[in-house]
Symmetry: C2
Subunit: 411 residues, 2 copies
Amino acid sequence: MRQSLLASKTLKETPKDADNISAALLLRGGFMDKLASGIYSYLPLGLRVLRKIETIIRDEMNAIGGQEVLLPVLHPIENWKTTGRDEMDVLYHIKAGSGKDFVLGATHEEIISPLAKKLIFSYRDLPLYLYQIQNKFRDEPRAKAGLLRGREFLMKDLYSFHANQEDLDEYYKKVTEAYFNIFNRIGLGRETFLTYASGGSFSKYSHEFQTACESGEDTIYFCNKCRVAVNKEIIEEQKICPECGGSELETKKSIEVGNIFKLGTKFSVPFDLNYLDEKGGKKDVVMGCYGIGPSRALGTIVELYHDERGIIWPESIAPFTTHLIALGESEDVRAKAEDIYKELVAKGIDVLFDDRDEMAGIKFADSDLLGIPYRVIVSEKALKENGVGLKKRSEKEEIIVSFDEVISKVK
Amino acid sequence: MRQSLLASKTLKETPKDADNISAALLLRGGFMDKLASGIYSYLPLGLRVLRKIETIIRDEMNAIGGQEVLLPVLHPIENWKTTGRDEMDVLYHIKAGSGKDFVLGATHEEIISPLAKKLIFSYRDLPLYLYQIQNKFRDEPRAKAGLLRGREFLMKDLYSFHANQEDLDEYYKKVTEAYFNIFNRIGLGRETFLTYASGGSFSKYSHEFQTACESGEDTIYFCNKCRVAVNKEIIEEQKICPECGGSELETKKSIEVGNIFKLGTKFSVPFDLNYLDEKGGKKDVVMGCYGIGPSRALGTIVELYHDERGIIWPESIAPFTTHLIALGESEDVRAKAEDIYKELVAKGIDVLFDDRDEMAGIKFADSDLLGIPYRVIVSEKALKENGVGLKKRSEKEEIIVSFDEVISKVK
């Protein structure tokens, strides 16, 4: 992609209504635009990152047998009356002229449960794992955390359906592993901890995945021995690590990037979701639900990976892997940069080519702000040495490499 | 994918609330589920088709310089008050507890125009082409046409921004070509005609893309000489072909599968979307908008491609290209079918493997209903001839081919 054509403008100043550092950098870098509190438009740069996160999530969901579906945003209010959750504060309500009243999907148990009833009849139809990546809507009284708490936000929600609790327990472990695979792959692995949370009436605990981060709004209590954490709600009850019983827990600020929950029969009972077992007996389906917000993950990645000059994207989810920059107005530089651009594109490398008529200082500042992992600099100085400059966003040193080398070094 | 695991149940009977033949077949085949009038959940089979349609659309939008963005569903009512369109009947309104009033996006001119204002400053920023694939919401008084007229539906909407009318005119032609490429690639090309429609105040005509189809709700007036059509609104005014002036127009029932519109400055004026030209003069940006509904296209494809037994998917957008069916309970058949399945998967072929314990009659009926282009049948009879059966969904004849041949014949 040529930067001269890219639908994106970098801003020198942080917009006044940026909620936090990730929102500030994503707005300044032209990754997204704020429409209203907690509601953002994704520009091409931001959407590229979001799609890469989604692709990794899909990959890991498919690997554990998840089948992708797409459920509606408009939910008949009756579905929510069935569970009594129509009174939830965060629901957006719609009185439609055409007669039917709707709420906007804040979560999808009320839709997936009656849908599953059409797919599950006998034990042979179980287990079943359905997931989607869909917008969720929550009428948040305060939505001042950029992508970390939105009114409209993307969610990957997986629902599992089982013949019994043991089968749910086993799958719950598999999802836990898949979630860590996801967090590892998108760059959040090292700082993300399994965190014990309240389990409702069907299991002692549920689990959150909390990413330790100074700017987080949550607090976790971390056991250095077990590498797990406990959320605030649980710590107030028991004050010890649920794994080792130890009481030396370290307080960390954190962001909740995922959660998994054993629903048991909470939704299968009201929606009459049952199955015939091997002996022909009617049994309630046992359910689990598992969420990760791709947009919140995006915000969290920026909270963790930035410096004073801008974002430092992990390679796996960077909008482009290579930022090719032509410096100065020399014809030789222009021609060489064009050649390298075409070669990188031909090799299938995601390259953003800064072909703009801007000063070196502006190009470098923008490049630091955008945070693309590899920077390739074509300049008269480097051309004299028969090479180009190569610098990683995460490192300070620029090295001069030959034209052949640069193609093999960037991903 | 193993059919024994697929989240889908075929129905023998057409659901009572199926609106039309495409909805009936898509519901019976387990491609989707109806949540409410005009509101559907996509099951894995349906989502696979939808995603293939989307991929083709993206490909053609990118080829004409389109850059993908993702705009919100929740629109502040103020944006719609700016154009006076907040009074439109089809808007869903939300009174939010948190104070702000929203409408659900029925279209996105009210969002993209102020966004473009942040990207366009001078003539150097033009032209600009932004598109998205996003849900739209319309409070349709009657929504009884399956995917053909939904309350919640997917739309690809492209918006173009130009320095002047000539530039818009030129791009409008490019989009017209891109649209025909899309319709050709998804199987609607032969029956889809450029159709003259009302142009508003900025151009004499806009254009619809109408697919001739007996079950369509629209009527077009088709000129056999020019291969273009005129919509009802226009024909009532002029009664002649706008291209050749001829009056021998054939009436056809049709479905509107796309539309393109020269907006001129209709939205740039209220949103103060202007730019500085080469001489430093302030000019209004000239806009165009271009829509295709992937979900409506999906419904239209099924309206066109089916017989009394089920759907007949065009290969380009079929949920799977090959339906591998194992017949009977013989161990040899099972083992051979497993081998072929693994080989097809290894070759990257989209294969659905009917590994269920069902009678041949049920498997064939389901296969006809699902409409996958190539059917590979592993049976004792064919094994005796050292081969497998191969049948195209669109043809009657089954032929016996060798194991090697079958891999090369299916896509």
